[in-house]
Amino acid sequence: MALAIIVGVLGSLILFHAAYSTIQYKSLLKITEEEFSSPPFNVVIELFVGLLLCFWAALTAPGKFLSIHPQSEENRIVSLPANLDFMIFNHRRKVFPLETDLKLKH
């Protein structure tokens, strides 16, 4: 968790640095009066590294992924809910009442 946050911060710092270098490069081009076609190669590499780190952090930090498959061990349905709307009270509990002195007192 802490590691993921550190990596995420690092990644965004790298992204900011890439943006800053691009701006600097553009202003340099203005001085030399050349056309801007693409940022320099090392900035592109930096961009990708930053992106990857951010990706990794965003996928790790919020927690574990849960399975969406109906057949997976966690999602597997093992029993149906009792159909409580159709519950009937005329059953064997009538013959064997609960022998306790439970009372609502107040």
């Binding site: 597997r76 809910p81 159909n83 409580l84 709307d85 159709f86 519950m87 439970l102 609502l104």
Partner: protein
Amino acid sequence: MVTKTEESQLKNLEIQVDNGGGGAWEYLSLIRKLKVRRSDKVLKHGLSILNDSKLRSNLGPEEWTLYEQVAVAAMDCQSLDVAQDCTKALRKRFPESKRVGRLEAMLLEAKGSWDMAEKAYTSLLEDNPLDQIIHKRRVAMAKAQGNISGAIEWLNKYLEIFMADHDAWRELAEIYLSLQMYKQAAFCYEEVILAQPTVPLYHLAYADVLYTLGGLENVQTAKKYYASTIDLTGGKNTRALFGICLCTSAIAQLTKGKNKEDKEGSQLQSLAAKALEKEYKQRAPDKLPQLTTALKSLTLSS
């Protein structure tokens, strides 16, 4: 639907609560959420919360939900005094409520005064003719009195209005099953599967009904539904595995001599048998010989 995770969660909470480890309110909430029927436990632990004024006031407005839950549980346990007290407390708080009216009618039902309960439901229905739960209560009441054909009639009338209610379809299927009217039950299960296609237990029930009906076509369809149950449970449903074996041998018997698509069937059967053997080895090794003889007799008869 109760999934594996929820089931184990409920089990853990139940052990914890029964041993006095606290968490009674969480337990009761989970019971409400999963709609399982644990009336004796709800009555015991719910009352212990309700009788403790500090715990009760901690719940805030949820307190009244608990009163209702405990009242129904008390009716189910035939502790009619408790049920009456809870209903009275609710009536005091909500003098105009229809929901409390329903609860009072249910109390009459639990007491066995059917006529009065019927009257109460009728008057409640006059105010709101589309109250689904009250319609369902009437069905349940007919069932409780042993009037199964009446229950079927009420339920059919109800389903004409509320066709999308899969719980009612399930109930109708179960009633038909209890009367051994398998064709009608199969129709109801078809509706249930249409409404909730991802619940393996409905596929399983439908397959069981079709297998019971018999006949080549039905057994073939049953096999398909057993297979879909296996698909949806990841092969963890023992009954479906047995179903595949039984269906295959039944099909082989019915098509004796014709021998169409025999290869595929026996392959499926041997796969299912292997899965069964593996599961038995893991969980009940002492029953393994019985399983192997049973499986052998199935393949021999085909």
